[in-house]
């Protein structure tokens, strides 16, 4: 009987201690699949099902943060941070139109569709700078990258 109590005590302690050992998390650092422990999304057997589910649900790119600031030279800069919630790498295009104080679009050769490659289930960010000091605001459009 004592043996069973000891075994029960041992297994419960291991379970409890493991439960207390929550992995440290920081939004700024993404521990990728294959680096961290296996989850439903990483497991070789469940991954296709999970992938199909995320596609069905429509997991994709979420916007997390947009920072706007003026650099030392007086040009407006924006930094966009997003989260690719899908289990697959995703690419998308973005295009920024810069607006001056009169609400007129600033003409620029840099205003083209640029491609971002976002790793699966990871945070990503990109920066872009206005082509002129006249720019005081912006509009950003996105689209799926054409194949």
């Amino acid at each position: 009987m004592k043996k069973y109590f000891l075994l029960l005590f041992y297994t419960t302690s291991v379970f409890l201690l493991n439960g207390c050992n929550e992995p440290y998390k920081d939004d700024r650092v993404t521990v990728s699949s294959g680096v961290s422990r296996s989850t439903l999304a990483d497991n070789i057997l469940t991954r296709p099902v999970y992938g199909a589910f995320t596609l069905l649900v429509g997991y994709g790119i979420d916007l997390k943060d947009v920072k706007v600031f003026k650099n030392e030279a007086g040009f407006l800069e924006i930094q966009v941070t997003g989260h690719n919630r899908a289990v697959y790498n995703k690419s998308f295009d973005y295009k920024v139109d810069w607006i001056d104080a009169n609400g007129i679009s600033v003409d620029s050769k840099a205003a083209v569709w640029n491609t971002i490659f976002a790793k699966s289930r990871s945070i990503f960010s990109f920066k872009t700078v206005a082509p002129s000091r006249d720019a005081v605001d912006f509009r950003m459009n996105t689209r799926p990258t054409p194949n």
Partner: protein, 203 residues
């Protein structure tokens, strides 16, 4: 019956042959090609412009503008490329940014120079110069020398990816050098990689 044929069938045949489409160059959703197309130049130029402006090296502390000349951009790809497809876009945005003014007096290629700058001076020094209002002719010592020069290279690497696919890497390298000191102010490399069928030829 014959009338109907001419009314409907003939126009249908004529329109069916007309499969030429104008490209929407602003929102082009067309397939990628193995060679370099205008979208690649747009993207390379865009990234170089962004990098140059963001670096802050072109912002003079007194608010004045640098004089920039375009040197030689080497085309080391297997394609026939006019490198101005890249530089013209960059020059335009840099001038619009208010950071630089381009010079047509000095340049790496003939298309970057305007021969009229020196042609007018030749006229001034010839007997024909007397025909001009002297106040409208340029005096000696008026041409502003460039302070910065932009040079670069576009090169290509072809790799075998597997039995059926090839990989082509295009590198766009640009440098800006201070002509007085010879020091390099800025440089950037944009890589555009493409992977596709072996049957496609990348030139």
């Amino acid at each position: 019956m014959k009338k109907l044929f001419f009314l409907f069938v003939i126009p249908l045949m004529v329109t069916g042959c007309n499969d030429v489409q104008r490209i929407d160059t602003v929102n082009d959703q067309g397939k990628q090609v193995m060679s370099l197309d205008y979208r690649d130049f747009d993207q390379a130029a865009s990234q170089c412009i962004q990098s140059l402006i963001e670096s802050g090296v072109l912002a003079k502390t007194d608010g004045s503008r640098y004089v920039l000349s375009t040197g030689v951009i080497i085309n080391d790809t297997m394609q026939r490329i006019d490198t101005e497809q890249l530089t013209a876009k960059i020059e335009k945005d840099l001038m619009n940014s208010g950071l630089v003014v381009m010079t047509s007096a000095v340049g790496g290629t003939a298309s970057n120079r305007d021969d009229t700058v020196y042609g007018l001076r030749d006229v001034r020094d010839s007997s024909r110069g007397e025909e001009f209002n002297q106040d409208t002719l340029p005096k000696q010592g008026q041409i502003i020398a460039p302070e910065l020069s932009m040079t670069g290279k576009i090169f290509q690497r072809n790799l075998t990816y597997d039995k059926h696919k090839q990989q082509v890497e295009y590198y766009f390298e640009l440098k800006v050098t201070n002509l007085k000191t010879g020091l390099r102010f800025w440089q950037n490399e944009v890589l555009i990689g493409k992977r596709g069928s072996n049957k496609t030829v990348a030139w």
